[in-house]
């Protein structure tokens, strides 16, 4: 399936840093014959220096994509190309320095038995990037300063820090090896709203200062719009629409994107509900036995018999604006 028509969502250019083609990640579930299709044929690309936001409901496979790209899971099918090289099956060791990840939960992503210095220094220890203790210390101190922590914090343990500080320790660890690409796996979802802004701005600041490229996974649409250049919308393991951030918010093409955007609350106390709100009926189908054809058809108000028969492919409906829906051709 690696080369079927749905791959056209990814247009390759010279500046492309990461290119994913027809990526599939299926998990075996105990007691189930069919695999759980966490990611089911996703194609996308990320250019150097840009931030690609990935949104979708919980369980739609956003985090799985991030982890599969880093080969933390072995992909079931598809191709991952990084900086022009196919890394789907290679030894990841040289790429670990270049691609890093920041996790969602700052409470479980730091080993409680290691000091902050050792946590931030672990990437250096693993990849043996220093010749002396001093050199190691300097790198750790530099990364801690970069995220707004002190060198005095090096001998402390994670439980002595707040959620926001812990998340910054995670970021410092991810930055230790000077990566160029960071998967941000819902890095702010577990934080208080007041802290979220702090951490988000830290991400933006680092992107400018260090020239980083992000894959920014989140379910908060406002946050994604704020930080991303381009956004992809996922539903049940498939990418349904991708476009520039402003284009997506002003001209959503896919019915699912339209529904998602219509429920963003407007900060106006006089308005109880948005008049244009689209309420999706029913539940998200199980990724073990998804519906035939278009996965969204069971909850789509425009669904036609065609949607049950054929899987819609990604098509370009504007400059850099791709969507997968039969309705776009007037056939639905």
């Amino acid at each position: 399936m690696g080369t079927d028509k749905s791959d056209r969502g990814a247009a390759k250019t010279e500046k492309t840093l990461l290119q994913v083609t027809g990526l599939k990640q299926h998990f075996r579930v105990a007691g189930e014959r069919a695999p759980l299709k966490a990611v089911d044929g996703v194609s996308m690309y990320i250019q150097k220096g840009e931030t690609f936001g990935l949104v979708g409901e919980s369980g739609c496979g956003k985090s799985t994509i991030g982890r599969t790209i880093l080969r933390l899971y072995e992909p079931t099918d598809g191709v991952i190309e990084y900086d022009g090289v196919d890394i789907t099956h290679v030894n990841m060791k040289p790429y670990r320095k270049r691609m890093q990840i920041v996790f969602q939960d700052p409470y479980s992503s730091l080993n409680p038995r290691m000091t902050v210095g050792d946590i931030v220094g672990e990437p250096l220890d693993i990849n043996k990037t220093y010749r002396s203790k001093k050199e190691r210390y300097d790198v750790i101190a530099d990364r801690l300063n970069l995220v707004g922590l002190n060198t005095e914090h090096m001998n402390r343990y994670p439980h002595e820090f707040s959620g926001g500080q812990r998340q910054r320790i995670s970021i410092a660890r991810a930055l230790a090896l000077n990566p160029e690409f960071i998967v941000c796996d819902e890095p702010i979802s577990a934080l208080d709203v007041s802290i979220q802004a702090q951490v988000i701005n830290k991400f933006i600041e680092l992107r400018q200062d260090l020239g980083l490229t992000y894959l920014f996974i989140a379910h908060d649409l406002a946050v994604v719009r704020y930080i991303s250049n381009r956004i992809g919308v996922m539903y049940l393991g498939r990418l349904v629409e991708s476009a520039g951030a402003d284009e997506l918010f002003t001209h959503p093409a896919h019915p699912y994107t339209q529904a998602l955007l219509s429920v963003i609350p407007i900060p106006d106390p006089k308005m109880n509900t948005r008049p244009d709100r689209i309420i999706l009926e029913g539940e998200v189908p199980s990724p073990i036995s998804p519906p035939s054809g278009c996965y969204f058809r069971t909850r789509c108000r425009y669904a036609t018999p065609l949607c049950a028969e054929q899987t819609p492919v990604m098509q370009e409906i504007g400059a850099g604006h791709w969507a997968a829906c039969h309705g776009l051709n007037g056939t639905a």
């Binding site: 990840i101 479980s108 080993n111 409680p112 038995r113």
Partner: protein, 341 residues
């Protein structure tokens, strides 16, 4: 207006005035000037960072029952390992004319029908019990941790095989295995180590314990590893390119060590009790060596006339097992971070 240097002089005079006239409202500007950066820095005090072990030690020392139990264990250990050195008799020495003595000044625990001092025999018996408990637990610790972490970390068919094997071992009655082992290994052990003071029966108890009791430990370690393996910091270490060996050593085992120590601590009284039971049945220590169980067994024949022969060893078994269990409870409360929150 005076020139500047004169005015400064004046402030100096005013300052003296301030101290000579207590009611003066004149303030000295220098006293309320904002602190410089250096002064601020000297005030900053970093809170002492507490490690997991310091935390655990603090919690443990606040637990009275556990501390008392720990004290009892230390006293019993001194009694068992230093006592025989200080005593004027050996455990096998038969003192003519002092047979069947009631506890008295020369023999605080009395003597048996052969004139052997019960105090010294109890001391050596306790030594054997403690040694069995500790050595067996050490063996269990090593085998259980290795097998358990391999099964938990690698998973798949290896995990399946190991766990099925554990279940089989678990379902076999341990007394049966110990007896079979003792009988089948007696000839081999006697010919291999002819001058062993411990006796072949005791050695086969060691071997049997090691073979049987690692199962619990392995299961526990595997469960812990399975939970910890899912944690995001392990995933983060993988994303950094850490090897499996490093992940087990730096991330999984340090976080499982509390549970491992607690399980090992609970293993000690179990081993001691089983040894006492086997010796009581005549399957453990062979004469003239004494263990607490065999001492209790020896006292059975004259129980109505010489009850103290039974009292002291039985009392020690009870004390040891009670103290180790309470100590284990205290350790669990101190080391298990889930109870902290």
């Amino acid at each position: 207006m005076k020139p500047i240097h004169e005015r400064e002089k004046l402030t100096g005079e005013l300052r003296i005035q301030k101290y000579t006239q207590p009611m003066s409202l004149m303030l000295n500007i220098e006293d309320i000037a904002p602190a410089t950066e250096d002064q601020k820095k000297s005030r900053v005090k970093m809170r002492e960072s507490t490690t997991y072990w310091q935390d655990a030690l603090k919690r443990f020392s606040q637990n009275k029952v556990a501390m008392v139990s720990f004290g009892i264990i230390v006293l019993i250990a001194i009694f068992a390992f230093l006592g025989p050195l200080a005593a004027p008799y050996t455990y096998e020495q038969q003192i003519r004319g002092s047979e069947r003595l009631f506890p008295c000044f020369a023999h605080p625990f009395g003597t048996d029908n052969l004139g052997r001092d019960i105090l010294v025999r109890t001391m050596t018996g306790t030594r054997i019990s403690l040694a069995i408990g500790i050595f067996c637990t050490l063996i269990v610790l090593v085998i259980g941790t290795l097998v358990g972490s391999a099964a938990g970390y690698l998973g798949g068919w290896l995990d399946n095989m190991i766990m099925r094997f554990c279940e089989i071992l678990y379902s076999v009655p341990d007394i049966l295995i110990i007896i079979i082992l003792q009988i089948s290994m007696k000839r081999f052990l006697d010919s291999a180590f002819p001058n062993m003071t411990l006796g072949s029966a005791m050695v086969s108890i060691f071997i049997a314990f090691a073979m049987l009791y690692w199962v619990n430990m392995a299961r526990m370690v595997r469960g812990q590893i399975l939970i910890l393996k899912q944690s995001e910091y392990v995933l983060a270490a993988k994303a950094l390119g850490a090897s499996g060996r490093r992940i087990i050593q730096k991330h999984l085992l340090p976080n499982a060590v509390g549970a491992i120590i607690v399980t090992a601590m609970y293993q000690i009284p179990v081993a001691i009790f089983t040894e006492s039971f086997l010796s009581f049945m005549g399957l453990g220590a062979s004469a003239p060596l004494a263990s607490l169980g065999s001492l209790a067994n020896d006292s059975l024949s004259g129980l109505a006339s010489y009850p103290y022969l039974m009292f002291f060893p039985a009392m020690l078994i009870l004390l040891i097992i009670y103290a180790f269990n309470q100590f284990g409870d205290g350790l669990r409360d101190a080391l298990d971070p889930r109870l902290k929150e």
